[in-house]
Symmetry: C2
Subunit: 338 residues, 2 copies
DNA sequence: CTGTTAGCGCCTTCAG
DNA sequence: CTGAAGGCGCTAACAG
């Protein structure tokens, strides 16, 4: 039988209330007796029972606010799925979750959402932070107030946070390099189409790829890295144009709107062997029917799930999370999913 | 606020005890009122609070027995790690776990362990079942008694179980075939060394590989599939001999003792490009320093973790698990881990 | 067949 | 500064 605060109270000769105050540093207690109680707790190998605690703190109505940086896209829809699953799992603990979408990349609006969440009584925030002074300043403030903020699927330079959850972008760039070499037999030419470098993660991924392919003389030749815009039509045109302009290129690494990329590759008029990042439906279909050779996934669902569970563990077990939680990338070929 | 049994009791005009009896089919209740209560519960969208339930059932001292089929190996040490992690997470729920090793593949002993666990008061069993009448008969009995038994990392033909957790062996064979094709540029010759086909999973994996590579004319040529024994020295000799006997073979797929395989490949005196299953330390090292081109993992830790959590969810939420839970295989290259 | 009540372990008033 | 008591939602033992 694990020891309970009752046990501790008995050997310390005090009441459970006093034990509770001591163990949770609630003050209103004589320092000596607090010390003594803590000593006894340690000796008795006490650990607070999270189930009982959860039941008791349920009337605190703990709230988590999730603040995104866009309204919808394939990636974040998956993230939200993970968040919803976590919500499902922790609802019995009396913790509720509110998700706020945000006009795409609008820092002013995101700031409003942050402030709204707080005045609404949120006890923690999960955010996909926009890289803008407006936001970063506010996040710094919150950090100083020890208000728990978790960065989700999105890095931010030098802004401290309670914890940050994402894939290892640099590594995922290197993995892509390796896959391209595998597919090409270490020869030939490739183009890489990657999303906006204004997001730090994308930049890291790009660096990973470049570093990896530049590190040795042999191997596939990375002709150019092209930055995409997040606008379907523009990106389609860009990809098509680049492919037509480099008829010697046979290999493509692509991260962006799957539809645009697939269509452009199809329309360029020759056989292209490609690796796609992420796993929206069109990507899955293309992988299964062979238009794509492989995909690199960062499991957005797991990232969303983890962001909530990290806070959950903090609330129920006082578990301070790692500053940076990296979700491993997954390599997927047709045979993994067909 | 979620509805509680108290709420239901109030609108039904009965006591919480009666509601409890109705909702959990405990009998000793007039059928009509049970019906009525269930109806009201449905209307009020009631779901039992698992936290409160867990706290209440804690004095039942729920016990899970884990019965292995061997004492130790790399794979099951990982499985056990996952089990321990689950144990850690659910200990506050008052559920305890006992792990029993077993003399390697000794069915008589494993049967004893099963019976011991039950007479010891276990409420469920997680087992890596040995494929032997002695065991399968007992497992059938238990299944008929509705005693929850979960098969772990190990398939068994036509023996019903509460749930079975493993990787998708057939698929993992296909994935290997694909990787070998990738590495070889769809040409050349390979050998496959796979573990004892007496275990159904290994057989499935072999079939997956064979079916995949035989399905088309082009692609790497699978010269032979060799069955390993699980004895280090024997396997070393087998691998070495086969490699020396087939000097045209440049590619190897290997599943077995990593040490034996790596040594034999090294000693065969020529450059071999290989894919290994599973991820014991020697495999990791070999992957990092380039002796192995890729690995296919089945995440044993997750399998162990899941086996416990599945029972946990059953105990705390009455959640009946899927009959077969498949943990996806993971493709790993150097760049994923270095 | 049904109601009452005492827990499960912890937190939180509210008196003292 | 400390103790007592009630409550979180559910289960189970005991009366009736």
């Amino acid at each position: 039988m694990p020891t309970t605060i009752k046990d501790i109270a008995k050997v310390a000769g005090v009441s459970v209330g006093t034990v509770d105050r001591a163990l949770n540093n609630r003050g209103r207690i004589k320092p000596e007796v607090a010390e003594n109680i803590k000593k006894i707790a340690a000796e008795l190998n006490y650990r607070t029972n999270t189930v009982a605690k959860s039941l008791a703190i349920r009337n605190k109505n703990l709230k988590i606010a999730v603040v995104l940086h866009i309204q919808h896209n394939d990636f974040y829809d998956e993230v939200i799925k993970g968040i919803k699953q976590a919500e499902e799992e922790i609802q019995d603990f009396g913790i509720s979750i509110d998700i706020f979408g945000c006009p795409d990349f609008n820092a002013v609006e995101q700031l409003k959402l942050i402030n709204h969440a707080i005045s609404d009584g949120a006890h923690a925030i999960v955010i996909a932070p926009i890289n803008d002074q407006l936001i970063t300043n506010r996040l710094k403030e919150l950090n100083e107030l020890s208000f728990p903020v978790i960065f989700l699927a999105n890095l931010l330079h030098e802004i401290p946070s309670f914890s940050s959850i994402s894939c290892d972008y640099y590594r995922s760039g290197r993995i892509a390099g390796r896959l391209m070499n595998l597919l090409s037999g270490n020869k030939g030419q490739m183009l890489a189409f990657l999303p906006s470098f204004s997001m730090l993660g994308n930049q890291k991924r790009m660096e990973g790829l470049r570093d990896y392919l530049n590190q040795s003389e042999q191997g596939i030749q990375l002709k150019e890295i092209i930055e995409l815009t997040n606008d379907n039509l523009t990106d389609y045109c860009t990809v098509l144009e680049k492919l037509k302009g480099s008829p010697s290129v046979k290999y493509v690494l692509y991260c962006g709107s799957a539809k645009a990329g697939l269509q452009a590759i199809k329309d360029c008029g020759r056989k292209i062997i490609s690796v796609f990042y992420d796993f929206a439906l069109p990507t899955q279909e293309a992988l299964i029917d062979g238009r794509i050779a492989a995909a690199i996934l960062q499991d957005p669902e797991i990232q969303g799930y983890q962001s909530i569970m990290t806070l959950f563990n903090f609330f129920t077990s006082n578990k301070i999370p790692e500053k940076q939680i990296l979700i491993p990338s997954r390599i997927v070929v047709k045979e993994c999913v067909d």
